[in-house]
């Protein structure tokens, strides 16, 4: 398929377009917040605390009188940064491990890598994240590391599974006949053919990362004040939910829409990359 055809298929894929738009709104909000926010998020304005949405504060103010729209914009920065770095850690370590396990399938190395993965999988991820932050102190960095570690087995397994079937292809056999070693074959023939899968899984892990960061901040183990974070905004609002529902609704919507957008994008990308599904949807 040529580039134009792919582009057209992408634009007619409804979940991809909606997902992309939603994700871009939040990425855009995070980027804009670096240069401009409606109000300074560190400035307290107790006189105007817990105000419902108004012209001055489109999404209202919180219990310190901070502008919720500004908090959400800056909070997007934290969420996205944590999730991106966590996905990069997961891919950076998980993909090479998966490729190595597939290249030496059935060997001791394969066993060690895959049983190591099982070990990480066996622990409830948030509990371990809480443990890490409990030991090393709560911070955005520790949250990133904790979430990243749990992404490693996801990518390792996915890569190994896809790579195993590629290793039986004739073109891999042809490369072996040409005297190429496992590392070269993995880099030249296996990796480019699993990229699609990795991109799709990457967007899904990205959304899970945002959820995990929100959960950690909610229990106070993510980014620390005064850095705004969606999870902590929810935690702060919970005692006031009966008389100031806007304080919970807007950060909650931000989390919901970002995760929804990323998941839709992942779904759309998978359809786009898989020609069989694409043909059926036409």
């Amino acid at each position: 398929m040529n580039g134009g055809g792919l582009m057209r298929a992408a634009l007619t894929n409804r979940s991809l377009v909606i997902g992309l738009v939603l994700s871009l709104v939040f990425v855009g909000a995070a980027l804009i917040s670096f240069v401009w926010v409606p109000q300074d998020v560190t400035a307290l304005d107790i006189a105007n605390k817990i105000k419902p949405p108004s012209a001055a504060h489109p999404l209202g103010t919180d219990h310190f009188g901070r502008d919720i729209l500004s908090m959400i914009m800056v909070g997007a920065r934290t969420s996205i940064a944590v999730a991106v770095v966590a996905v990069v850690i997961g891919m950076g370590l998980g993909v090479p491990l998966g490729l190595a396990a597939a290249a030496r399938r059935g060997s001791l190395l394969d066993e060690v890598i895959m049983r190591g993965n099982d070990l990480v999988f066996a622990f409830p991820s948030l509990l371990i994240a809480i443990m890490i932050t409990a030991v090393f102190g709560p911070s955005a960095l520790n949250a990133i590391i904790a979430i990243g570690i749990f992404n490693i087995p996801v990518f390792a397994r996915l890569t190994r599974g896809a790579a195993l079937s590629l290793w039986t292809r004739d073109y891999v056999l042809a490369a072996r006949v040409a005297g190429k070693g496992a590392v070269r074959i993995s880099a030249e023939h296996i990796l480019p053919n699993v990229t699609n899968l990795l991109i799709v899984q990457g967007t899904i892990q990205f959304s899970l990362g945002i959820l995990a960061e929100a959960a950690l901040s909610y229990v106070g183990l993510g980014a620390q004040p005064p850095i705004p974070s969606w999870g902590r905004m929810l935690a702060d609002s919970q005692t006031m939910i009966s008389f100031a529902p806007h304080m919970a609704i807007f950060p909650g919507m931000a989390i919901l829409l970002t995760v929804l957008g990323l998941n839709l994008m992942g779904d759309g990308l998978r359809d786009l990359f898989d020609p069989r599904i694409r043909r059926d949807r036409r």
Binding site: D170, Y171, V177, A178, H189, P192, R282
Partner: protein, 530 residues
């Protein structure tokens, strides 16, 4: 009155015309063979009769089955007919059965869908249907799962499902293409017997002229969605009119011209090679067993010779190929190319490896879809110590592509821009680019249509003459092997059971297995050059 009457069938999928004015008829007890190459519309004709067309398909014309026009029936009425009035047998017995249901249940299911009978009665009739396809209950209990059966036995189960309700019409789409020749012969005999016993019509679709010629009463030759010629078999072979039918027949029996004479010096020597595989261990502490895939095999290929290696699936052909290519180490014996071992000290010998190349069967799976042709064909350069660079590399690419009948400009294209036959040419170009002495052709023409196959065989013969190449031609298809080889090895269960010149093996086979293989090979009716 005929059972199935197709009149002026036109079919378009998303406004793309697939079939044009197709007409044919099948009478009770009659076997009609539909022959065509890929893209000829033969399978679409079958699916139109079953009304199992892909989404977006529009059929016009008349398809009258048992007095009713199936094109005008509702989906509910069609469901009532499928399986009861018309049955279908597919090509791939491995995927046509549900792996987690027993064979008895699967056959009984077809009966339960259509008739209000008790489960016990359905099972009883499933038992009868399986017995009719020669899977008697005492040897093949109804509780067997598909994975416990061989490919041929699975195809019998598929046939049992299709005939359980004694349909009036059976459609078989390439029913034996995925099977070995001896199994193929058994399945064809079975289909013939069932047609006679039940007086049902059989619409048999195949790309292989010889398979259909043997059994059909009537032949229909299709091309580009049209019927080009039809008539009663075997007379049709004698008085073919249409140039395409003639070309198809000529391609099926095509004999490439080969001029080169093999020299007396051996190029490849295989001595007493044994290759064992470890099988799964029984229990955690059990010892893994061994499976001997190649058992004490010895042979030689002379320089400039074309040697055939024939055998059915699982006989060890592919394992032997891998051993020769130095991809896997053998447990005993030696493989020498021009006196040099393929493996030295547990490492493949690069100096030897660069003198052999291989062409695989599947023109679609042998290339990384993400690379351009120039990168694909230059892959073997990796074996050279100083691979050509710059202009020398460009020249080598152009030379390799041109020698297989492509142009130097094709180097910038991706593999999906080529047809199956062209891809196989690129595979040959990839093998040729480092100027090897020996090329192993692993079922290299088995997946191609007959006319393309004839072209590729001509190309190989021509290249062999021009470049003094030696071929090891591995195939399950005896008729192709006969056309292109000087000598033949027959392999069964890891052993070479017979070897000799091609003429001797085919005209006076000594080993019972060779005779069995030859007897099972479908043959075109003898027709003199009149």
């Amino acid at each position: 009155m005929s059972l199935l009457q197709i009149e002026g069938l036109n079919l378009a999928i998303h406004d793309y015309a697939i079939l044009h004015d197709v007409s044919l008829s099948v009478g009770p007890g009659q076997i009609v063979g539909v022959i065509g190459e890929s893209g000829s519309g033969k399978s679409m004709t079958a699916l139109a009769v079953m009304q199992l067309l892909p989404e977006g398909a529009r059929a016009t014309g008349r398809v009258i089955l048992d007095g009713q026009d199936v094109l005008r029936l509702s989906e509910a009425e069609l469901c009532g007919m499928r399986g009861r009035v018309m049955g279908m047998v597919f090509q791939e017995p491995m995927t046509a059965l549900n792996p987690i249901q027993t064979i008895g249940d699967q056959v009984a299911e077809t009966i339960l869908v259509h008739e209000r009978v008790s489960r016990t009665e359905a099972r009883e009739r499933a038992r009868q249907a399986l017995a009719r396809v020669e899977l008697p209950e005492d040897r093949f209990p109804l509780t067997r799962y598909p994975h416990e059966l061989s490919g041929g036995q699975r195809q019998r189960v598929v046939i049992a499902m299709a005939i359980a309700l004694r349909p009036r019409l059976l459609i078989a789409d390439e029913p034996t293409t995925a099977l070995d020749v001896t199994t193929q012969a058994q399945i064809l005999t079975l289909l013939k017997r069932l047609v006679q016993e039940d007086g049902m019509g059989l619409l048999m679709i195949s790309h292989d002229l010889a398979v259909v010629a043997d059994m059909a009463d009537h032949l229909v030759i299709m091309r580009h969605g049209r019927v080009v010629e039809s008539g009663p078999s075997p007379d049709l072979f004698h008085r073919m009119q249409h140039p395409y039918s003639k070309a198809l027949l000529a391609a099926s029996t095509h004999q490439p011209d080969r001029a080169a004479q093999p020299q007396d010096t051996p190029l490849l020597e295989v001595r007493g090679v044994i290759r064992d595989y470890a099988t799964a261990r029984k229990g955690i502490w059990g010892k893994p067993g061994t499976f001997r895939a190649v058992d004490d095999v010895s042979f030689r290929i002379r320089r400039g010779e074309s040697l055939g290696l024939v055998g059915e699936s699982g006989c060890g052909k592919s394992t032997l190929t891998r051993a020769i290519l130095g991809l896997e180490e053998v447990q005993a014996g030696s493989i020498l190319l021009d006196g040099q071992p393929v493996f030295t000290g547990h490492k493949p010998n690069r100096a030897v490896r660069r003198r052999m190349q291989v062409v695989f069967q599947d023109p679609y799976g042998s290339f990384n879809p993400r690379h351009r042709v120039e990168r694909l064909v230059t892959e073997p350069f990796h074996l050279l110590d100083t691979p050509p660079q710059g202009a020398a590399r460009d020249d080598a690419i152009a030379e390799a592509l041109e020698s297989v009948g492509l142009t130097a400009d094709d180097r910038h294209k991706y593999i999906h821009e080529f047809s199956g036959g062209q891809r196989q040419r690129i595979a040959i170009a990839r093998a040729l680019i480092i100027k090897p002495d020996l090329i192993i052709l692993d079922e290299a023409v088995s997946a191609l249509d007959v006319s393309i196959r004839a072209q590729i065989l001509d190309l190989l013969a021509d290249l062999g003459d021009r470049l003094g190449l030696t071929y090891l031609f591995i195939s399950h298809d005896l008729s192709v092997v006969r056309q292109v080889t000087d000598r033949v090895l027959v392999m069964q269960a890891g052993k070479i059971v017979e070897q000799g010149t091609t003429a001797t093996i085919f005209d006076a086979p000594a080993h019972p297995y060779t005779r069995q293989l030859l007897a099972a090979t479908p043959r075109l009716p003898d027709f003199e050059n009149t």
